[in-house]
Symmetry: C2
Amino acid sequence: MAGRRVIGVDLGGTKLLAGVVDEEHEVHHRAFRLGRGGSAKEVVDHLIEVIDEVREAAGGDVEVVGLGIPALVDQQRGVAQASNHLPLVDVPVRDLVAERTGLPVVVDNDGNMAMLAEWWWGSARGATDAVLLTLGTGIGGGLLVNGQLVRGAVGAAAELGHIVIDADGPPCPGACPGRGCLEAFVSGTALGREGLRVAHDAPDSALGRALSAGTGITGALVTELAHDGDPPSRALIEEMGRSLGVGLTSLVNLFDPEVIVIGGGAIAAGDFLLDPAREVVARRALPVPRSRVRIVAARFGAESGMLGSAAAALAALADA
Amino acid sequence: MAGRRVIGVDLGGTKLLAGVVDEEHEVHHRAFRLGRGGSAKEVVDHLIEVIDEVREAAGGDVEVVGLGIPALVDQQRGVAQASNHLPLVDVPVRDLVAERTGLPVVVDNDGNMAMLAEWWWGSARGATDAVLLTLGTGIGGGLLVNGQLVRGAVGAAAELGHIVIDADGPPCPGACPGRGCLEAFVSGTALGREGLRVAHDAPDSALGRALSAGTGITGALVTELAHDGDPPSRALIEEMGRSLGVGLTSLVNLFDPEVIVIGGGAIAAGDFLLDPAREVVARRALPVPRSRVRIVAARFGAESGMLGSAAAALAALADA
């Protein structure tokens, strides 16, 4: 069996990452794309491009494709039913990709895929009750309860970014009709938006100078500046960490999880983000569940989704 | 088998209800107490009193006692670990009650018990994914995911009243260290508190006149006046219903449940409470999960907890 390989793909709201992964969880080839498709056809075209690229790099030697997509997924039929961030409404992603690649395809929500990687191989290994949030363009979520992934009645469960933390808060971005959802305050997008605000308000700050120099103000830039010691950038991340902590307080009280895993691009901020979140949970969550829960970074950082898609593909290979 | 009987007990934050229940879910005798114990011993004494009362009324012919208590319960050991509303810290309730009654005892969280009754016999019958909230002194919660009750890593899960709906909201009542929890806005206690505020602010209102006449302003009184057509009382219940709807929005997005069941004393308000909640969910929840979820009153109203405790006792009888 050693040496069998699959492709894992993580389709984000604005990014696409694919990798060839073996049974020892080694990633052999990676392909990365920025940007998003403007139609379902373009999204699928982008998927085929990165799959072809890593497949060719691997010498063609791959057996299954795993796809994690930021959408409500009917996993049995392989259909993306709806998405807050991509034009995917009732799109039979599994069959479309299988047809064009000639490979078996498994598809699931990106948060579920990230949870698989962290549960089987990473920071939630051995847990029966765990929560995972990926902080990227939006928030992806994975939920493990009684040792099972939670999918909900129509496969729409675990939208962890859409718990309300401020009843009268600002409209939620994307296609969510809500207000004051966690995702309105906590994501790479939210961090970039706040960074841009600071850049405008304080032209002499590092963010302000970056803006003058024509650098795009993104969550990644704010994170980089925070690591360089820039106080306003650190303050923005701390503020986001406190909002994250409010959302995690609800999740601790709801699920009494052993571990909460934070991944996605924004986890590049590491403990600058997690320490304020931990502090809020320690102060506000119910004593019994908070006494045990660990709040940790994803072992696979921003690659949990891609690796989890590969994990699902390997599981399909083992079942076949 | 027909005719075998058990006792179901629902211990609330300020009330205690016991009933003798048969295998056809018929309630034969009821006992009710107001008030709460000031110590663990007093709580257990009150339990024994109501159990003895209904047992005697039934002619002694009962086989098991089921206890639902508003606490984090280690169900395997029958121990109340902590409670937001009662002085129960590491109290071996099961063994204490078994010793004094000479009967087998099963114990679980009151929200879990209420969910059992509604799941097996009531408004959530046949569901695999369901949420139950009982609105009384505080909020009790039961959570059914993938056809299983959610207990969490240390048995502390499903504290549905302690999801945050307002990050900067008022301190949560009881022993919860949080702020802006759903329970701070939605409960019989909260309704009574708001009713008292109106009574003071508007002495000529029905609530104001009740206060002048020396009537205690409780959630039950506000509900009664609302049913009588009193506009300020209806407005208070509608406002509480909208807050409930914000919390339910989070729960719909998290669990994608088939049904949300609302019980506890406050469900006496019926659609005065549920319609505003439904309206908020219809407006703010994610389209796919909200398209299917039903928000309904508990079939057994304020008796779900007692009947669920009886259901657990009957299940123990069947297993024995």
